[in-house]
C-alpha cells in the first residue's frame, strides 16, 4: 500500500519531466523562439551540429572521473585506515570545508589561480614562459577534479571505514603481502564506495556546465553548455530537448555498461550501489 504514493511521486518527479522533454524534442522552434507542436525527427537529425559538445563531454567527464578516483582513493584510504585519531577529524573537515562556500565562488577563485597572474606567473619565475592554463581543457579538468573530489572521497572513505580491518590482518596472516592484500581484499571490499562515487561524479559531470563556462571561457564546450545556450540564448526548445534526451540516453547506456562490467565478477554478492 505504501508503495503506491512512492511510485506516484517517482512518476511525477522523474518521469513526467522526461516525457515533456521527449514530446518537445519532436516539435519545432516557434518563430520567436520556444516550442511549437509538430511531429518530426528533424531535431535529432541535427544532433551532429553539437558533436563537439558530446565528444568533449564524453572524454572529459570519464577522464575527470578517473582522475578523481586516482586522487581520491589513496586519500580516502589514508583517512580511513592510516590516519591517527587526531589527524582524521582534521582531514575530514578539510574535505568538507569547501562545501561551506558556494561552488561558484570556489570556481571563481580558480579563474584567478589559473589566469595570467596566477600559476603561469609562477611558472614564468622558474623560466617557463607563456604557459596558458585558463580557458583550456586542462583548466576545465582541474576545476572538475577540484569540484568533484569530495564527492569521490566521501563514499570511498565510508566503505573503507566500514571495512573490517581484521580482514587485512587475516590476509597478511595467510601469506599475502600488502600489495596482494590491497588487490584481493581492500579493493574488492571498497568497490561499493568506488562505484557509488564514480557514478555520482560521472552523472553530475555529464550535465556539468558551470565549470566549462567559467574555466573553459566558452572554448571547452560541454553538452550542458549546449543546453544552456539552446534554452537560454537561441530559445530553441525542441532542439535543446533532443540534445537533452540524447544525453540522458547516453548516460543510461554508459551507466548500464559500467554496472555490468563492475557486477560481472561479483557473483551473487548483493552490493547495493546507490
Amino acid at each position: 500500500m505504501l508503495l503506491l504514493p512512492t511510485t506516484l511521486w517517482f512518476l511525477l518527479l522523474l518521469v513526467m519531466p522526461l516525457v515533456v522533454i521527449a514530446v518537445y524534442s519532436l516539435g519545432e522552434r516557434a518563430p520567436a523562439g520556444g516550442y511549437q507542436p509538430a511531429l518530426t525527427l528533424a531535431q535529432y537529425a541535427n544532433l551532429l551540429a553539437r558533436l563537439k559538445a558530446f565528444t568533449n563531454t564524453l572524454t572529459l567527464a570519464p577522464l575527470g572521473t578517473v582522475i578523481c578516483i586516482v586522487i581520491a582513493y589513496p586519500f580516502a584510504y589514508y583517512l580511513a585506515v592510516k590516519a591517527g585519531r587526531g589527524a582524521k577529524p582534521f582531514l575530514l573537515t578539510l574535505v568538507i570545508i569547501p562545501f561551506w562556500t558556494s561552488f561558484l565562488i570556489r570556481t571563481y577563485a580558480w579563474i584567478y589561480i589559473l589566469g595570467g597572474q596566477g600559476i603561469p606567473r609562477l611558472l614564468e619565475m622558474i623560466g617557463i614562459e607563456d604557459y596558458r592554463l585558463i580557458y583550456t581543457p586542462t583548466a576545465v579538468l582541474i576545476g572538475i577534479v577540484y569540484g568533484y573530489l569530495p564527492l569521490m572521497v566521501l563514499p570511498i572513505y565510508v566503505s573503507l571505514e566500514k571495512l573490517d580491518k581484521s580482514l587485512l590482518e587475516v590476509s597478511s596472516d595467510l601469506g599475502a603481502n600488502p600489495v596482494r592484500t590491497f588487490f584481493q581484499v581492500t579493493l574488492p571490499l571498497s568497490a561499493p564506495g568506488l562505484v557509488t562515487g564514480s557514478l555520482l561524479v560521472f552523472i553530475l559531470l555529464m550535465g556539468e556546465y558551470l565549470i566549462p563556462a567559467l574555466l573553459g571561457g566558452g572554448k571547452v564546450y560541454f553538452v550542458g553548455n549546449a543546453l544552456v545556450d539552446l534554452f537560454l540564448q537561441s530559445r530553441n526548445w525542441p532542439f535543446g530537448s533532443a540534445v537533452a534526451i540524447t544525453l540522458v540516453g547516453i548516460m543510461l547506456a554508459a551507466i548500464t555498461l559500467y554496472l555490468t562490467l563492475v557486477g560481472r565478477d561479483r557473483g551473487r554478492q548483493d552490493v547495493s550501489v546507490l
Binding site: 587475516v170 590476509s171 597478511s172 596472516d173 595467510l174 603481502n177 581484499v185 561479483r266 554478492q269
Partner: protein, 389 residues
C-alpha cells in the same frame, strides 16, 4: 623460511614486553612452546593474551625482548612471512569470497603458484577435515556460527603452519556446540600434529583441552603447568581462585612447618595446610590463607549415625542447595569460618539422603587436603616458576 625441527621449541619469548603508550599489555614474559604441544594462554579480560598471540603472529612487534620461532628471531618479520596462521576471534571470513575461496586463500598466495586443480583438491581435503563437504559454493553469511568457525579453522590450517594460533575460537558458540568443538579441536590437533596456541578466558576450556596452560594476569605469567598442576598445586591465592572453586580462610601465619604452615583465623582457630609444589614458603606473622577445594570437604548430618573423623571438623547450617546432576553443591554457614562451599558426590548423597536449607550438618576435611597459600591476589613475577614434574 624457518626449519621445523621435531621435538624442538616452536615459539619462544625471551623477556618480551609490549607497551601501548603507558600500558604494559605484555610485561617481561618468558615462554616456550614445544613442537606439537597444545598450549593455552588463560587469564581474565585485558591480561594480555591477545597481545601475546599477535606478537607471535607478527601483527605486533615487541617493545623489548625477543620473539623466536623455530629457534630464529622473528622480530621485524611481517606476518605474511611467518610459518604461522591464526584463527581470529570473530572468524573474520572474507565476505566477498565463497567458502571454498575463503579456505583456498592461503594457497593462492603461495609461490610458485599452485595449479587450480591442486588448490581445489586441497580445499576439498580441508572441507572433509572440518566436515563441510558440499558447502564449497556457499557464501559465508549463509553459515551457522559453528560452520563459520570451521571454515576459519580450515582456512588457517590449509597452509600447514608450524603453529596454529586460536584467539578465543569458541567464545561465540553456545555451550553444547562449544563442548563439541572442544573435542573436535583436540582430535584435530592430534591428527594434524600441529602446535596449537589457544587463547581463552574460560578456565574449564583451558583445563580440558591443553597440555600446558600459562595463567596470566596484568601482562605477566603467574603460573605455568598442566591442568592438574594448576588445579591441585596453585602457587598462590590468585591461581587457586581463578582455576576452579576454592574456599579461603584468611588469617595470620602462626607457625612454619617443614612442608606447610599453620594459620590462625580471626576467631583464634588454627588451621593447617601444606605448601603447594613450586610455591614459595610463607613467612611467619605475615598474612596467609588456607585454601580447601569444595569437593574435598565432607558433609554429614549433625549428630547422625555417620560421624566425621577428619582433622578439621565443625558444625554448620545449610543455606542453599544447587543440584548439578552428577554432584550437588551446598552453601553452608559455619560459626567462625563464614560461608563455605561444599560439593557432595552422587554417591555421598545417596548415602546421606541429602540436606535441605536449614538443616544442621557437620563438615570437615583432612589437613592434607588444605593448602597454605600466600595471600597475594596478583601474583608476583618471581613466583612464575615452572612446576617440577
Amino acid at each position: 623460511m624457518v626449519e621445523m625441527i621435531n621435538g624442538a621449541v616452536d615459539v619462544e619469548f625471551q623477556g618480551v614486553t609490549k607497551r601501548f603508550g603507558d600500558i604494559r599489555a605484555v610485561d617481561n614474559i618468558d615462554l616456550e612452546v614445544s613442537s606439537g604441544a597444545f598450549v593455552s594462554l588463560l587469564g581474565p579480560s585485558g591480561c594480555g593474551k591477545t597481545t601475546s598471540l599477535r606478537l607471535i603472529a607478527g601483527f605486533e612487534q615487541p617493545s623489548a625482548g625477543d620473539v623466536r620461532i623455530g629457534g630464529a628471531s622473528v622480530v621485524g618479520v611481517p606476518p605474511y612471512k611467518r610459518p604461522i596462521n591464526m584463527v581470529f576471534q570473530n572468524y573474520s571470513l572474507f565476505p566477498h569470497f565463497t567458502v571454498a575461496d575463503n579456505i583456498g586463500f592461503g594457497l593462492r598466495q603461495l609461490k610458485p603458484r599452485l595449479s587450480k586443480s591442486e588448490i581445489t583438491a586441497r580445499v576439498g581435503e580441508m572441507l572433509e577435515l572440518v566436515r563441510l563437504q558440499g558447502f564449497e559454493e556457499r557464501r559465508t553469511w549463509e553459515l551457522s556460527g559453528g560452520q563459520q568457525q570451521r571454515v576459519a579453522l580450515a582456512r588457517a590450517l590449509i597452509n600447514r603452519p608450524t603453529v596454529l594460533l586460536l584467539d578465543e575460537p569458541l567464545a561465540a558458540l553456545d555451550r553444547k556446540l562449544r563442548q563439541d568443538m572442544q573435542i573436535e579441536l583436540q582430535t584435530l590437533q592430534r591428527d594434524v600434529g600441529i602446535t596449537f596456541v589457544l587463547v581463552t578466558h574460560d578456565q574449564e576450556e583451558a583445563l580440558s583441552m591443553s597440555d600446558t596452560i600459562y595463567l596470566m594476569n596484568e601482562g605477566r605469567i603467574i603460573q605455568m603447568g598442566g591442568a592438574r598442576d594448576l588445579y591441585d598445586e596453585p602457587i598462590n591465592r590468585y591461581v587457586a581462585d581463578f582455576v576452579g572453586k576454592t574456599n579461603f580462610f584468611d588469617g595470620e601465619v602462626a607457625e612454619i612447618k617443614p612442608n606447610g604452615a599453620a594459620i590462625r583465623l580471626a576467631n583464634g582457630r588454627v588451621l593447617y595446610g601444606r605448601n603447594p609444589r613450586g610455591g614459595v614458603p610463607l613467612n611467619r606473622n605475615a598474612g596467609g590463607a588456607i585454601a580447601v577445594r569444595p569437593e574435598l570437604i565432607h558433609i554429614v548430618k549433625a549428630n547422625g549415625s555417620a560421624c566425621l573423623t577428619t582433622d578439621v571438623q565443625t558444625t554448620a547450617r545449610v543455606k542453599n542447595r544447587i543440584f548439578l546432576g552428577e554432584q550437588t553443591e551446598y552453601l553452608v554457614m559455619a560459626e567462625g569460618f563464614g560461608d563455605i562451599l561444599v560439593l557432595a558426590s552422587k554417591h555421598a548423597e545417596t548415602v546421606s539422603g541429602g540436606f535441605s536449607p536449614g538443616d544442621v550438618v557437620s563438615i570437615g576435611w583432612e589437613d592434607s587436603s588444605a593448602l597454605a597459600l600466600e595471600n597475594t591476589s596478583k601474583g608476583d613475577h618471581s613466583t612464575a616458576v615452572p612446576v617440577p614434574k
